[in-house]
């Protein structure tokens, strides 16, 4: 095995992992606190990418584009929550799934109306375009390292917010007993809106990070949202720690599986059989993992404490 390829693929897996975490953390927060299943969460990922693209072209700077796009995505999240999502909290999960499925159609079509059917690529600033030597003889794009770094930083920040601030205390309290914190005088409705907007911003930020690499396009949210769901199922729905560990795990397994599975298969089957079956199996790998986890632990790896 080639060490250069292994390190590179490991970092690619980490990159996918942190992006998945950014999307899944919002999903798991919203589910843990509001008991709300949000299929349309991927839409914020897409909205983030598109808004950031427009603002980058408008301001001429990618960094400014990201900074300005964050409040826009928060606003989109708040508006969505107030108009449609709020009334859905008391309903059952089936209604959540259907209504947010409708929201996906609305968001995708609005994006089509505003930005047209083609994808938009965001040009990177010059200082982020280079490659860096991370180990002797192994080079990796600076920007991809930046994605991993900022994803990990946000994970750390989230951990701090959730476990060491007043907002985090309310979030944790809300996750374990919604009715009680309402009775204690906390404005639950505002808290819910805030949490929903926070989730939207996290997903939107992930979309902004990936846009320079794979461009902003309609339907980009629909691909990542399924993986994010797999992440929160494997990690245990409602658990932040579970989402983090499962996101990195699934990012790595998916990426490494795609590059190494046929080598692995070659060890115990013919070359041709390995070549035909490996792509299919590696594409299904994370779902097989999820099925395996659920078969043994139906509540996920790190289920949140009893509510």
């Amino acid at each position: 095995m080639d060490a250069v390829l292994l390190v590179t693929q490991f970092l690619n897996g980490m990159q996918l992992g942190v992006l998945l975490f950014l999307v899944a953390s919002g999903l798991t927060l919203v589910f843990g606190i509001m008991d709300f299943v949000n299929l349309a969460h991927g839409a914020f990922y897409m909205v983030g990418a598109f808004v950031c693209a427009s603002l980058t072209f408008w301001t001429g700077s990618f960094l400014l584009g990201v900074l300005l796009a964050l409040p826009v995505v928060a606003l989109v999240g708040i508006v969505t929550e107030v108009i449609a999502v709020r009334t859905l909290y008391p309903r059952d999960h089936l209604d959540h799934v259907l209504a947010t499925f409708g929201l996906i159609l609305i968001f995708d079509e609005l994006a089509h109306l505003i930005w047209g059917p083609a994808g938009i690529a965001i040009p990177l600033p010059v200082f982020l375009r280079g490659w860096i030597e991370i180990l002797p003889g192994i080079v990796f794009p600076v920007y991809r390292l930046l994605i991993i770094g900022s994803g990990l930083a946000i994970a750390a920040g989230l951990y701090y917010v959730v476990s060491h601030t007043r907002l985090g205390m309310l979030i944790r309290a809300g996750a374990s007993n919604r009715t009680m914190i309402g009775a204690l005088g906390v404005d639950v409705q505002t808290l819910f809106t805030l949490v929903f907007a926070l989730g939207a911003v996290l997903a939107g930020f992930a979309g902004m990070l990936i846009a320079p690499i794979s461009e902003a396009s309609i339907g980009m949210g629909n691909d990542i949202i399924i993986m994010a769901f797999v992440v929160i199922i494997v990690g245990g729905i409602g658990s932040m720690k579970g989402a983090f560990i499962a996101a990195l795990l699934i990012g790595l397994i998916d990426t490494l599986g795609r590059s190494y599975l046929d080598d692995l298969f070659r060890l115990f089957m013919g070359g041709e059989a390995a070549e035909t079956s490996a792509p299919a199996i590696s594409a299904m790998l994370i779902y097989i993992l999820m099925a395996g986890v659920l078969a043994v632990r139906p509540q996920g790896l790190f289920p949140p404490k009893v509510r």
């Binding site: 089936l94 799934v97 409708g102 797999v230 729905i237 594409a283």
Partner: protein, 347 residues
């Protein structure tokens, strides 16, 4: 169920609820669809009707587990895909035998349902929704990476299933009636199932699982069996779909397809016998109608979906039943109040 105060067939017909009338009207229209499209010289609409009827079979099968069983499956399109590939893959190897295609579609779907259902049914609530969706995606990616069978681009089917002259899949009208009769049979099967002891147990488990268990039913096995029946039925619909479109691709398994099937069931009225058919009709009808007028018709579609969930509890069937009871109440205030609570929707 049927009216209790009926005297013979005539009385039964006169006592029909609004939903009963709606059912008869829709069935009559669809029974004569090929004639109607011929008279108005609109062959395009026979295509629409065929697609609609096939999707209705899939929706009816989903309703069996979702509406009656309370199992919210978000991966039902996988069975549609498995059924379709059961026609496409044998075709690729020059096997055109229709009996084999459909037997394969049913068996493969049922086996897949048993294997995945055995895992899915260990979970509850939102976990069940997501794991079924994930299994659907698994089939989707299997299709995407099946290079031999066209991968993403799909596979064109040039020869439809051959039933040695017993059934003719090549003629449009004949294919339509095969699909329509299949739908009727599917409706009958579901009707028989939900009113049998088995069906009562499954419905009981939806209402109160603990109690069913306490009474001594092995809820898991009942649900799994029901899941497999629904899967097989949807696989059958998939085989019809492949014959109708002459084309298979992973796109028909995508999770948004599963979402659409769910929408059909809810739109028509989940847990009612006829609702999914009405839902499929409304869905395909809107799809065809709106897409003629506006490129961005999906926007309206999405808004409609949200509004349906927010305001139209019980879907079309529920709205019609509400309308009826409202009318009866205002009209029957003077006369005997005894007739007021007549019959609601089936189930």
């Amino acid at each position: 169920m049927e009216s209790r105060s009926a005297n013979g067939l005539m009385g039964k017909v006169l006592n029909l609820s609004f939903n009963g009338w709606l059912m008869i009207v829709v069935l009559v229209i669809f029974a004569f669809a090929p004639v109607l499209t011929e008279v108005f010289n609109q062959p395009f609409y026979l295509d629409v009707a065929t697609r609609l009827v096939i999707l209705a079979i899939a929706a009816v099968s989903l309703n069996l587990i979702l509406g009656f069983g309370g199992m919210i499956s978000f991966g039902h399109a996988a069975f549609l895909g498995l059924g379709a590939y059961s026609v496409g893959i044998p075709f690729y190897y020059d096997i055109y035998n229709g009996w084999l295609h459909f037997a394969l579609a049913i068996v493969v779907s049922a086996v897949f349902a048993v294997i995945t259902g055995a895992i899915c049914l260990r979970t509850r609530g939102v976990y069940f929704i997501m794991i079924t969706m994930a299994f659907g995606q698994m089939v989707y990616f299997a299709g995407v990476s099946a290079e031999e069978y066209g991968a993403d681009d799909g596979l064109s089917i040039y020869v439809r299933s051959n039933f040695n002259g017993v059934l003719n899949f090549d003629d449009d009208t004949s294919l339509y009636y095969i699909c329509f009769v299949s739908l009727l049979v599917a409706l009958y099967i579901v009707h028989r199932i939900v009113n049998s002891r088995f069906g009562m147990a499954v419905r009981g488990a939806k209402g109160n699982e603990e109690r069913m268990r306490a009474v001594g039913f092995n809820v898991y096995i009942y649900r799994l069996t029901c899941y497999a029946i629904a899967g097989a039925m949807c696989g059958f619909a998939g085989a019809l779909l492949a014959n109708f479109t002459d084309f298979i691709s992973p796109e028909m398994i995508d999770w948004t397809r599963s979402g659409e099937l769910m929408f059909m069931v809810i739109l028509g009225g989940s847990g009612t016998l006829f609702g999914p058919f009405l839902g499929a009709a409304a869905f395909v009808g809107l799809d065809v109608f709106l897409s003629q007028y506006w490129v961005h018709w999906r926007l309206i579609f999405g808004i409609l979906l949200v509004l349906t969930v927010l305001f139209a509890k019980g879907g079309i069937t529920g709205v019609v039943a509400n309308l009826e009871s409202m009318l009866r109440r205002t009209r029957g205030r003077g006369s005997s109040a005894a007739k007021a609570d007549g019959e609601g929707p089936d189930g």
